[in-house]
């Protein structure tokens, strides 16, 4: 037996947030009180682990995740998920170990300090400028124009979205970085 998308929605009585979705997704009455996904909002996402790219539905109520499970409409996984995909719930806000504040460790210190975003971002930008300007090479030893810095390196990240990967490399290359690598190399 296979749960079709329609029957799945019938149970959750949910509205799905998916731009350009061709399905009609009106709320339906039938909803048993016993299921925790009753009247939850459904958002589709793609699993963040391996590159099979399985569809996952994240069910939320009042902005809190109440359940996650495989997207039965997704042609690749058809609702199924492995152990990692099945545990998506545990990396949501329910996980108390998620990093939630910028942390700073001063030179020689043996502890983290919580800092504001403005504080860390200003300090990082100043560090970048200082290192870049100190190590910037307009020409190499052959006298060729190279406009690069070898004083800063970056690794990461295949965990980012395409759009983020692009703007990240755009920023790094504008700074003259050549040491740009990530997971694909290892």
């Amino acid at each position: 037996m296979k749960v079709s998308r329609r029957s799945f929605l019938k149970i959750s009585g949910a509205a799905i947030t998916a731009g350009g979705l061709s399905l009609s997704l009106e709320q339906e009455k039938a909803c048993a009180k016993t299921t925790k996904i009753c009247f939850a909002k459904e958002t589709v996402t793609i699993c963040p682990y391996c590159a099979v790219g399985c569809g996952i539905i994240v069910q939320t109520r009042h902005g809190r995740v109440v359940n996650t499970e495989g997207d039965p409409d997704h042609p690749v996984n058809q609702g199924s998920l492995c152990s990692k995909g099945s545990s998506l719930y545990q990396i949501t806000h329910h996980n108390k170990n998620r990093l939630t504040r910028p942390l700073y460790r001063a030179p020689g210190s043996s502890r983290w300090e919580e800092k504001s975003w403005d504080w860390v971002m200003d300090k990082i930008a100043n560090n970048i400028k200082k290192t870049r300007d100190a190590t910037f090479m307009e020409r190499n030893i052959l006298g060729q124009i190279v406009n690069r810095t070898e004083g800063i390196a970056s690794v990461g990240s295949a965990a980012m979205d395409n759009e983020e990967c692009y703007v990240y490399q755009k920023l790094l290359r504008s700074l003259g970085l050549v040491y740009i690598e990530h997971q694909a190399r290892i």
């Binding site: 042609p75 990692k84 190499n140 190279v146 990461g156 295949a158 759009e163 703007v167 755009k170 504008s174």
Partner: protein
């Protein structure tokens, strides 16, 4: 993947080698199971018996690092028994091309190809480099390659291939790999049965092939097999790299790598001072009017990228001048970064969504390097061994001057954007919840840094400030003052696709300024279009966001799902699909056609690799392998650094003194970091009695990569709670180890603590009649979680060597030498 996940169901024989799909890509087994229900054969080749092997029809063990020998034997088998797909090999590959008569094979040249220059040692050449003059194609007077379509000429690729692999006999292969001969033959027979036109075979590989000093040649050997059997471009065929991270395909396409710019354009070199010289160097030419030579469009893609970076703030040459140039011939890859960091030349470092203190080969050296930085920015959703390196085992925080920033970012479902799966499907994800606390999407953090840097360079000046200040950043609705309100992935996705920057007339149709480019064929080299990545041009058009499509219909009947999300390039679901048909455009396999030609309707099925007529149309057609300058798939590959054909060499660290195949022990052109007699962190232990056991690293279903996300999840930690080492009963008996014992695994570079899993799934190998043991360890663990207070060394990569494949510089993490002893690590 040249094909895609669902397409596995169309295969008649699936070989899983160099990967462990059941454990690391579990959902692939939905489609493998379907293929097996149809009668397909599943083959698993792996040093140990895995969860994949448990489901396979045929399992064969092989010693880590001997894949070329294993597959080379299959090439020989196919050629000896005439099992190759003759028409395909003759018409679509360069088998018929004639090679320079001066070219020499390793058998006649001390184990190396002609042209090698390097230092001779008792192990053969080291730190060599090939002069490739003799690796060239003979040319006709008109500049086209000379061919012998009878495949009989002694200089033709086919005959050279035959000669080269004639040395890979069953006895030889079995002696090198440790695989029993009958098992080799069984697999060769089963797989080469897919050489029949209506049959297809596929291979699923991953880091088990790439993480070797012969990584690219491992894959090349299989590519040669696939070409001989006519398995490229067809349903259920292909060479399928199973990518390990949700967006490692997309992050590679967008080129977070030193050597390429988005769209696989080459990173500029110092010898290319202008965009014009850069284009000239990188745009291949062909003399054959029937070769599409797709990279001939290079200048259109590079110009469009320059426009994406700097918009109309600069002209194209100015934008190019701001783009950093690499020194010619120099490699700036991963291993170099950490070597330079260790030497102290790198001052600032971003570890953005990555945990190199666990994931990098010879991680001990990496951790030392981190301690020599001025500053480190670590962006992640969980604390990790990289950000907290200063507090790790063996570290003295008081003595470490590195300033560390750990920034909390949003998880995948806490922001919007697209990722690209292994089958090249670009899929849109939506935001389900807010990130916890003050965590922010990566795009916001990057934007925040950009605005601060722009302001700093505008206010204070500095080195080449224009490179930063002239950058465009139109990634959201603008607030007064020209800054964006928030990072909006739709704006970026549109820029990635590309815009017309002025009204452009193409083929009689007017495309208005400011509209989205419909496809890469419309991109221009004069700066009138922008596009980050030509491969993604067509992904976000005037018709909308293609990646967000959710139509579940499959008119193809072979599982292409053409209106579900979007696939690069141009929504083509199977690459090289023009090779799936004969000269008249009729499918080799009528029951599972990818495309087919009809004189009334043209091409049907998948988006063809170019819309030209079938080959029988002569000059109106083009050869199917359009990305190659000559239009033919390359059995002879002169572009590689280490040989036009694959040849077996031992891993840098190996259990044998001699390569049975030749006098050349290891790949002669790998860059060696170790120096004889210099005791630093770049040590190696080859045929060294202190480290007699072959070791390999791998993953398990229940964790992911360094475990930076999964070790923090109690449900997953429950399933695989701690570092382990798997070994055979025989080895355990020799070392006095019982199942479940605490043991230490050591290499010349480090040691890790682990629990012994003594199992029948590992068996000793007979290598040249000697018993050789192998063990395996997962690389998911680290000191930071669980039990951080123990500060225990648990990362597999503390043991692995920093040595890279000469083409890719991917480290050899899959074959190295260790010892295992009872008891905890020091």
């Amino acid at each position: 993947m040249t094909n895609h996940w669902i397409d596995l169901r169309n295969s008649d024989c699936i070989m899983i080698m160099g990967s462990n799909a059941a454990e690391n890509h579990p959902i692939s087994f939905k489609w493998i199971t379907k293929a097996m229900e149809r009668g397909a054969t599943l083959i698993s080749v792996d040093p140990r018996f895995t969860r994949t092997s448990a489901k396979a029809d045929i399992y064969a063990p092989l010693r880590s690092g001997t894949d070329i020998a294993f597959l080379g034997g299959m090439v020989k088998y196919i050629l000896d028994k005439n099992l190759y797909f003759e028409e395909y090999t003759r018409e679509y590959t360069n088998a018929s091309f004639l090679i320079n008569p001066g070219f020499k094979l390793p058998a006649e040249n001390c184990g190396v190809f002609s042209g090698l220059k390097g230092t001779m040692t008792r192990e053969g050449y080291i730190n060599g480099k090939y002069d490739k003059t003799t690796w060239s194609f003979q040319k006709n007077p008109d500049g086209t390659p000379r061919k012998d379509k009878t495949l009989q000429h002694p200089d033709c690729v086919f005959q050279l291939l035959k000669k080269h692999f004639s040395r890979y006999s069953l006895d030889m292969v079995s002696d090198i790999t440790g695989t029993p001969k009958d098992r080799l033959e069984q697999i060769y027979r089963a797989y080469s049965a897919t050489g029949k036109p209506e049959k297809s075979g596929t291979v699923m590989y991953a880091m088990g092939w790439t993480q070797h000093t012969v990584g690219v040649q491992n894959i090349r050997t299989m590519a040669i097999i696939q070409l001989l059997l006519g398995n490229m471009g067809v349903a259920g065929g292909g060479v399928n790299a199973l990518r390990g991270e949700s967006n490692v395909q997309g992050s590679t396409d967008h080129c977070l790598l030193f050597h390429i710019l988005p769209g696989y354009l080459k990173a500029p070199r110092a010898s290319q001072p202008t965009l014009q010289s850069y284009n000239e160097k990188n745009t291949p030419e062909t003399s054959d009017p029937m070769s599409a030579n797709w990279w001939g469009n290079y200048p259109k893609y590079s110009a469009s990228l320059m426009r994406a970076h700097y918009g109309l703030n600069t002209n194209l040459e100015e934008a190019y001048s701001y783009t950093p140039k690499l020194d010619d011939g120099k490699n700036y890859s991963w291993l170099t970064i950490f070597d330079e960091m260790y030497k102290g030349t790198i001052k600032g470092f971003f570890a953005w969504g990555q945990n190199p203190a666990c994931s990098g080969a010879n991680a001990g050296k990496i951790r030392q390097g981190l301690a020599r930085l001025d500053w480190l920015v670590n962006v992640n959703i969980f604390d990790n061994e990289t950000g907290s390196f200063w507090n790790g085992p063996g570290m003295e925080p008081k003595e470490i001057e590195t300033e560390v920033f750990m920034l909390p970012c949003a998880a995948s479902f806490e922001k919007e954007g697209s990722i690209t799966n292994s089958g090249r499907w670009m899929q849109w994800r939506y935001k389900a919840t807010e990130p916890p606390g003050e965590a922010r999407p990566d795009g916001e953090i990057i934007t925040g840094l950009f605005y601060r840097l722009k302001a700093l360079y505008e206010e204070k000046g500095g080195k080449l400030p224009e490179a930063v200040t002239k950058l465009t950043w139109d990634y959201g609705f603008k607030l007064p003052g020209d800054k964006i309100r928030s990072f909006d992935a739709h704006f970026v996705a549109k820029e990635i696709n590309g815009y017309f920057l002025k009204d452009v007339q193409i083929k009689g149709k007017l495309y208005k300024k400011g509209t989205l480019v419909p496809g890469f064929a419309y991109l221009q080299d004069d700066g009138s279009t922008s596009s980050v990545n030509w491969l993604y041009c067509n992904s976000y058009t005037e018709e909308g966001n293609m990646a967000a499509r959710r139509d579940t219909s499959d008119p193809s009947g072979i599982g292409l799902y053409p209106r579900w999300s979007w696939c690069w390039p141009l929504n083509r679901r199977v690459l090289y699909n023009r090779a799936s048909v004969d000269k008249d455009g009729q499918p080799w396999a009528m029951k599972k056609p990818v495309i087919w030609w009809s004189s009334e309707t043209g091409w049907n099925g998948d988006v063809p690799d170019g819309g030209w007529k079938p080959l029988s149309a002569g000059s109106e057609s083009r050869y199917p392998f359009i990305m190659k300058p000559d239009g033919y798939a390359r059995i002879f590959g002169p572009g590689l650094t280490d040989g036009p054909f694959p040849e077996h060499y031992e891993p840098l660290e190996c259990p044998v003194e001699k390569n049975l195949m030749s006098k050349q022990l290891v790949n002669p052109v790998i860059k060696r970091w170790d120096k004889e007699g210099v005791p630093d962190l770049d040590l190696r232990a080859t045929f060294d009695s202190r480290y007699p056991i072959v070791c390999t690293t791998y993953r398990v279903s229940e964790h992911w990569q360094t475990g930076v996300m999964t070790r923090w999840q109690p449900w997953l930690l429950e399933l695989q709670p701690e570092m382990f080492v798997e070994m055979s009963h025989d080895l355990a008996d020799i070392r006095g180890i019982r199942n479940g014992d605490k043991v230490t695994v050591k290499s010349v570079r480090g040691e890790v603590a682990a629990v012994a899993i003594v199992t029948s799934r590992f068996k000793p190998f007979q290598i040249s009649r000697n018993t050789t043991h192998q063990v395996g360890i997962p690389w998911h663990y680290g000191w930071r979680q669980p039990d951080p207070e123990k500060k225990e060394m648990r990362s597999a990569n503390l043991l692995t060597p920093n040595i890279g494949d000469p083409n890719t510089m991917i480290p050899e993490s899959k074959a190295f030498m260790v010892d295992v002893v009872k008891g905890g690590a020091k």
